[in-house]
């Protein structure tokens, strides 16, 4: 009973003091920390170059962590390759090139259950219920789909493994307002089904509206942290990042 309680309290993801970057000697993240609890929807916002996408990549093992630790359900997974994190229940949707363009929709979904191919039929039925547009396009090459459809397919692929944590890197980037709404609605649905979500997002206002908690990054460091709705109305966040337009709304 006590063990179960501890499990419930252990964050799904806890990244502490992360230092990472692409070029030798140039750190993009400079001691960034983040935490996602079970079933939580957490947003990460910040100006261009703040390190939002870099944080997602570092947490997911696509970028080497130079200092700091990444824990998954309390277990240290720092430096583990991405495919191992997928095995441990993490799904990731990159910002760009988020589908296998030369593969069909069905093959993309099959790649999602690469580690458990027998689950394909069951999981495909589940994700097609969430994204009905995919069912009619199984034979279509992913590269020929529109940006919005590709985003749906990308999220569906990541959900095929039934992840307990989903990392979304700017899911609304490049989409029309209507498609953005659709994406945010789906994110809320996914989270409502019990999947913890860490969403890095450029559309800060929409992101904070649906997030339980939010982090504001600035120059690779945590600038502000708080509940999504609180950050939305925080004078400092408005002044430094959201802009006066947000106050007017």
């Amino acid at each position: 009973m006590r063990a179960n309680k501890r499990e419930r309290n252990t964050p799904v993801l806890a990244a502490e003091g992360i230092v990472a970057g692409y070029l030798p000697g140039v750190d993009v993240l400079r001691g960034c920390s983040i935490e996602v609890g079970p079933g939580e929807l957490v947003g990460v916002i910040g100006p261009n170059g703040a390190g939002k996408s870099t944080l997602a990549k570092a947490v997911f093992g696509l970028l080497r962590v130079r200092a700091g630790t990444v824990r998954l359900n309390g277990e240290d997974v720092t430096g583990r390759p991405a495919h191992e994190l997928v095995r441990r229940g993490v799904g990731y949707v990159p910002q760009l090139q988020n589908v296998f363009a030369s593969l069909t929709v069905e093959e993309n979904l099959r790649m999602g259950v690469y580690l458990r191919p027998r689950d394909y039929a069951r999981r495909a039925a589940a994700v097609e219920e969430l994204f009905p547009v995919l069912a009619a396009r199984r034979r279509q090459k992913a590269g020929s789909m529109s940006g919005g459809e590709r985003q749906m397919l990308a999220m569906a692929r990541a959900l095929m493994t039934e992840p307990q944590l989903l990392l979304l890197d700017e899911p609304s980037a490049g989409l029309s307002p209507l498609h953005q709404d659709h994406v945010f609605d789906r994110v809320r649905e996914i989270n409502g089904a019990g999947v913890a979500v860490l969403m890095v997002e450029q559309n800060a206002r929409r992101c904070l509206q649906i997030c339980h908690r939010g982090y504001v990054l600035d120059q690779g460091r945590n600038a502000y942290t708080g509940r999504g709705t609180d950050l939305l109305h925080d004078e400092k966040v408005i002044a430094c990042y959201l802009g006066t337009l947000a106050r007017a709304r």
């Binding site: 991405a82 997928v86 095995r87 090139q97 589908v99 593969l103 690469y114 020929s144 789909m145």
Partner: protein, 334 residues
């Protein structure tokens, strides 16, 4: 734009034709043109020879294309995998210093060596260099160095004398209407086609094959889907090395085994994979077949020495019309 294309094609044609014209001026013999009743038969014979040459190029080129597709590396040393396969089979089969094996087990051993060589260069050279973030141009230069190293190791061990395998060396041709083909060449062609079909089935129908295509399409996304990309890349190197070695044995069987045979074939491999569409295994097969057929068919009208040049001219012309290659796909942006 149209004028530019026509000018480039005309320039390429001129460059290719120049040696033929000068040869004629010197009074040298050139193949007879499309005259006389025997031309149809000669054309069919050239087509059959071209298909045979094309499928051998295809076997060797598939690995080169898959390596490019998965790690975007243009492996200049791929020709040496061909040479190593052919010369190792020669050592086991026909060299006085070798054990004198029959060609079939010798070919199997050569394929195994090719696969091991592929694995060794991936684990020993490319993986460490990639892990250190070495740029693609630098890696390309390293492949040239590796090519020189391997070629000269073969030169030292094998020597410069052309060699033939102990079996299936001299055979009389079977007449199939106007076309004549030796049982050896027929077997090599059929085997090569079967191997290519096997590769296609592997890529299209198996989990590993789909993983290879996924890594080719998007490496990071493949990793994010739970695929161990490093293992897939290792598999591709082994497959490419094994196929190149097999192609080397086939090429050595229908021609002769020489220390630089792979290097000579390399340009045809590049032409095949570019013509078919860079990074596509099926494109490499289709492109190589076209290159092989064009090279052989050109001998109907032009000197044999120019057959490779004609193949490269076709490459230029096709790319002017279809820049992504025969099977390369133009991708939607936005």
């Amino acid at each position: 734009m149209r004028c530019q294309r026509v000018f480039t094609a005309a320039l390429a044609l001129g460059l290719v034709m120049l040696p033929a014209v000068t040869a004629r001026a010197r009074g040298e013999d050139a193949p007879r043109g499309p005259v006389g009743p025997a031309f149809g038969g000669r054309a069919l014979q050239a087509l059959v020879d071209g298909i045979q040459f094309g499928v051998i190029i295809a076997i060797t080129a598939v690995g080169l294309s898959l390596v490019f597709g998965t790690i975007h590396l243009i492996n200049f040393a791929h020709g040496e995998f061909v040479t190593v396969g052919a010369t190792f089979a020669f050592f086991l089969n026909a060299s006085p210093a070798g054990p004198g094996w029959h060609l079939i087990p010798a070919a199997v051993a050569a394929v195994a060596l090719g696969a091991l060589l592929g694995a060794a260069v991936d684990r020993g050279v490319w993986r460490p260099l990639r892990a250190r973030g070495t740029g693609l141009i630098n890696l390309f230069i390293v492949t040239i160095g590796l090519s020189l190293l391997l070629r000269h190791i073969v030169l030292v061990l094998y020597g410069t004398r052309p060699g033939s395998y102990a079996q299936y060396d001299i055979q009389s041709a079977i007449g199939l209407g106007p076309v004549g083909i030796t049982p050896r060449d027929l077997t090599v062609t059929v085997l090569a086609v079967l191997v290519l079909l096997g590769v296609a089935v592997l890529l299209q129908r198996t989990r590993t094959g789909t993983a290879v295509r996924a890594v080719s399409a998007n490496r990071d996304l493949a990793e994010a889907s739970g695929i161990d990309v490093r293992r897939v890349v290792l598999f591709v190197w082994m497959l490419g090395g094994g196929l190149a070695a097999l192609g080397g044995v086939f090429f050595g069987l229908v021609e002769t085994v020489t220390w630089d045979m792979g290097f000579k074939l390399l340009l045809m491999m590049f032409a095949g994979i570019i013509l078919g569409g860079l990074g596509s295994a099926y494109g490499a097969m289709a492109g190589s077949l076209v290159i092989g057929v064009v090279a052989q068919m050109s001998t109907l009208w032009f000197p044999v020495d120019l057959q490779y040049a004609w193949a490269l001219l076709v490459l230029i012309v096709v790319l002017l019309v279809r820049p992504q290659g025969i099977l390369g796909r133009a991708e939607r942006v936005g």
